[in-house]
């Protein structure tokens, strides 16, 4: 019993130690707002700690000094209005010391006026879409951790579940306004290092702003339960210098980047060759497999055997290829499967349907061209 009591004591003191490891405290972050939030958090934390220690010390004092086993006699006191007033007023004053700075910080947080640039963020089941409103670029950002790592077939990488194929790239020292919304259910766009969290709600556009002081890669994740793959839709923000950002922008638009610095080395821009899409069986299977592992395998299983979702073994006996294409495009009403009409290109859908209908005991399917998929779109 004594050992248990001691270990409880050690356990209760351990949070104070944990506070010494910044990895387990709130991040101070890299924006003025996140610094302010961090300071507020520490202020409230110390006030709460003060109250907790006060209550604990009083309790322990009573437990030690007024023990029945040591013959303590109970007093007959039933109350005292004066102390009741004291412990009503003191917490009230403490709360005011919290409320005032909180109010000031909050007023700053909601002031999204005069941004230098605007990025629309659209939460989707289950990826993020970013639209650079002033630049006319847009792209999807999907989890890039391989399924084999999730299933434990491969060792996990450093950024397990916190890596994406297309990070959202932004410049430092600019006021960036995010316009957050959703295409389907509620999500929440959150990056702790930027002090940023805004719910993505269909039919609403919520505004938030950041001003990043340091170049770097900042990682967050969807914070509002949004269905099956809620845990698999990370957010990666890459903050670059103005120069680096413009260069990235040019790349995205397929333009040559002209540095504003006359001494900068001239980069010869070669527009990328349009890739030739090979239509032989092996190339389609290889491409389809990639698409499948990225978008389908988490539920339908790496080998198509299903699990949470229906099995794909023998699926061609149930559905024709045209039907499969329409299911991938628009899903089936009442099923958990998301519609991929906006997520996948015609070619990708053609590839993945071909891959599925040529694997796992399925009858050999016909070659599907991107045009077939384009025709199937309503």
């Amino acid at each position: 019993m004594v050992i248990m009591q001691l270990s409880l004591l050690i356990l209760l003191v351990s949070p104070l130690l944990a506070w010494q490891f910044p990895a387990y405290n709130m991040t101070p972050g890299v924006t003025p707002v996140s610094h302010e939030i961090y300071e507020l958090h520490m202020l409230v934390f110390y006030i709460c700690l003060f109250i907790l220690i006060g209550v604990s010390v009083m309790t322990i004092y009573c437990l030690v000094n007024y023990r029945h086993s040591q013959g303590a006699k109970a007093s007959s006191i039933k109350g005292n209005l004066k102390v009741e007033i004291i412990w009503t007023v003191i917490p009230f004053l403490l709360l005011i010391t919290i409320a005032v700075p909180s109010t000031l910080v909050l007023i700053n947080i909601v002031d999204t006026s005069d941004p230098d640039m605007n990025i629309k963020v659209i939460g989707r089941q289950w990826n993020w879409k970013y639209e650079y409103l002033d630049e006319g670029i847009e792209f999807f950002s999907d989890l890039s951790t391989p399924l084999a790592q999730i299933k434990g077939l491969e060792p996990k990488g450093d950024h397990y579940l916190r890596e994406v194929d297309h990070p959202v790239v932004v410049p430092i020292n600019k006021k960036i306004r995010f316009l957050v919304t959703s295409d389907d259910v509620q999500h929440s766009f959150a990056v702790p290092d930027l002090g940023l969290k805004r719910d993505a709600i269909p039919g609403y556009i919520n505004e938030a702003w950041v001003y990043i002081e340091k170049p770097g890669t900042y990682r967050g994740a969807c914070q509002e339960l949004c269905g099956m793959k809620h845990g698999y839709m990370p957010i990666v923000v890459e903050a670059r210098s103005q120069e680096g950002y413009l260069q990235w922008l040019a790349e995205q638009k397929g333009e040559a980047y002209v540095s504003s610095d006359p001494n900068a080395p001239v980069i010869n821009f070669v527009p990328p060759e349009p890739a030739v899409i090979k239509m032989d069986h092996d190339s389609i299977i290889a491409r389809g497999k990639q698409v499948f592992e990225k978008h389908c395998a988490l539920c339908h299983g790496l080998n198509g055997a299903g699990g949470a979702c229906p099995t794909l073994v023998d699926i061609t006996q149930k559905w024709s290829e045209d039907e499969l294409i329409s299911i991938v495009l628009y899903s089936i009403k009442g099923k958990a499967m998301p519609a991929f009409e906006d997520v996948l290109s015609d070619q990708e859908i053609a590839d993945v349907v071909y891959y599925v209908s040529n694997s796992w005991n399925n009858s050999e399917g016909q070659l599907i061209s991107a045009e077939t998929v384009a025709d199937a779109r309503r």
Partner: protein, 524 residues
């Protein structure tokens, strides 16, 4: 039918047909304990999944289904029925009534429960798929995107709501009409006060929950679009409605728990409850405030600045009456004569850990900081400190306190002490790490997590398994106690005050057939 069978079925029918408040209280308590083990088992499955990064034992969809069922069954199947069980047993005994005001209604309000929970969980068995959107069932995840099992859940919530509403009406009618002569409202035990106020809360919020789930139902099947932006509806409206129910619901759970603690601390401090009247005023203040704080669950939805400020201030103010209660409990122990029976151990631990949970609630009320905490594991840690080491501790404490009164037998003190220490250590091992991974940015309701959260999640999983085992010990010692000698006096605890201690242990099947005369205050 031979004689043995006849008596057996008669014995069974006694429990089905009973209108006796003690029988129904017992049914409520055992039912809630079994639901507690069931929903706790679901929590353990989730903790096993979360013990290490990567997929361990289940698919993400099943994880979400467990998240949903765990929350709903714990709240509606375990904690609320357990509190109602206490109300059934204790309120008539404590106010000197012979039974509740509407005994047959009482029978119905219990027997709705097993069917409601069966309906709720049926989609796991008959192939729903079951609901997978968390106990908060936010639209449109539960409407347009909800699985068929959602409809069973909606009907189950209706049944559960009916059960709690008629239970509350019964309790209010009992308290208002059946108090023994001399027991004025301000003389009532604080436990009865807690339940009195809770009953009004339930009457106010359960119809709103019923309306909300009905709107979800019509959105799903009858072409309405209350919560669908595409049809001119509003997904945020759902959150307003849900949390207008949801926040007071927290106090529905907490208020009777406060009451139990307010009975136990004076008994084992052998001293009157400090500031008993202030305790009553604090309960009423908390109840009123609980209706104007709901937006603190929605700070990140983009509500207006003034709205956020208003709800930040009201939420902070709730700390004041809550603080009064905590300080009064401590002041009750001050200059008392304290002994450490298991009930008291749990009550003391309640005071400290509920305070801890409540303080993390103050942190959450600070809107800018909430932008970091919201929907992270910090929130999960916070409300589990409040509900597990708060409300559940009060329930356990209450069982240790009144079990000898109910059964006439004393459980094994030694096992109960073990139960306390193991539970308390394990609870902190389970919920403390959640606060820290939350601060570090781990979102809640995810089946898998990045590597940097691995150590603390492993600790939490380990703690939760030990916690679960300790609760099995609790169940064991309660059952074992039923075979121990029936030799407990009516008074049971030397410091206990109140009408229930003036009659034998166990009390006669029909107690207080002639109402006792109450002179002076309960705690004198």
């Amino acid at each position: 039918m031979d004689a043995v069978q006849k008596t057996r079925s008669a014995r069974l029918m006694r429990w089905v047909m009973t209108t006796n408040h003690k029988d129904i209280g017992t049914l409520y308590l055992w039912f809630s304990f079994s639901m507690f083990l069931l929903a706790g088992g679901m929590a353990l499955l989730m903790r096993i999944e979360l013990s290490m990064p990567g997929e361990q034992i289940m698919q993400p969809l099943f994880y979400n289904q467990l998240v949903t069922a765990h929350g709903l069954v714990m709240i509606f199947g375990a904690i609320m029925p357990a509190l109602t069980g206490f109300a059934n047993w204790q309120i008539p005994l404590m106010i000197g009534a012979s039974d509740l005001a509407f005994p047959r209604l009482n029978n119905w309000s219990f027997w709705l429960l097993p069917f409601a929970i069966t309906l709720l969980l049926s989609s796991f068995v008959v192939g729903g798929p079951p609901p997978d959107f968390g106990w908060t069932f936010y639209a449109p995840l539960s409407t347009t995107y909800g699985p068929p099992g959602t409809d069973a859940m909606i009907l189950a919530i209706h049944l559960l709501g009916i059960s709690s509403i008629i239970g509350s009406i019964n309790i209010i009618a009992t308290i208002l009409n059946l108090r023994a002569p001399g027991m004025t409202l301000m003389n009532m035990p604080i436990f009865v006060w807690g339940w009195f106020v809770t009953s009004f809360l339930i009457l106010a919020i359960m119809p709103i929950l019923a309306a909300t789930v009905t709107m979800v139902l019509t959105d799903r099947h009858f072409g309405t679009s209350f919560f669908s932006a595409a049809g001119g509806g509003d997904p945020v409206l759902f959150q307003h409605l849900f949390w207008f129910f949801g926040h007071p619901e927290v106090y529905v759970l907490a208020m009777p728990a406060f009451g139990i603690i307010s009975e136990i601390i004076p008994t084992f401090s052998r001293k009157a409850l400090f500031g008993a009247n202030c305790m009553v005023y604090a309960i009423i203040a908390i109840a009123l405030l609980s209706f104007i704080v709901w937006v603190h669950h929605m700070f990140t939805t983009g509500v207006l600045l003034v709205t956020q400020l208003f709800f930040m201030y009201t939420t902070m103010i709730i700390a004041v009456p809550t603080g009064i209660k905590v300080f009064n409990w401590v002041a009750t122990m001050h200059r008392g004569s304290i002994s450490f029976e298991p009930a008291m151990l749990f009550a003391i631990a309640f005071v400290l850990m509920f305070t801890f949970g409540g303080l993390s609630g103050i942190m959450l009320s600070v809107v800018p900081a909430d932008y970091q905490y919201h929907d992270s594991y910090f929130v999960v840690g916070h409300f589990h400190y409040v509900i597990v080491t708060g409300v559940y501790y009060a329930l356990v404490s209450g069982v240790y306190y009144w079990y000898p009164k109910w059964t006439g037998r004393m459980y094994s003190m030694k096992l109960a002490n073990w139960h306390f220490w193991v539970t308390t250590i394990a609870a902190n091992f389970t919920f403390m790490p959640m606060l820290f991974v939350g601060l570090a940015g781990m979102p809640r309701r995810i089946p898998d997590f990045p590597l940097e959260f691995a150590e603390f999640n492993l600790i939490a999983s380990f703690g939760s398994l030990v916690f679960g085992l300790a609760q099995l010990l609790f169940g064991f010692l309660l059952i074992q106690g039923l075979w121990r000698p029936k030799n407990v006096s009516g008074q049971v605890w030397d410091g206990a005050k109140g009408l229930e201690w003036t009659i034998s242990s166990p009390p006669p099947y029909h107690s207080f057939m002639d109402p006792p005369k109450v002179v002076g205050k309960t705690y004198q």
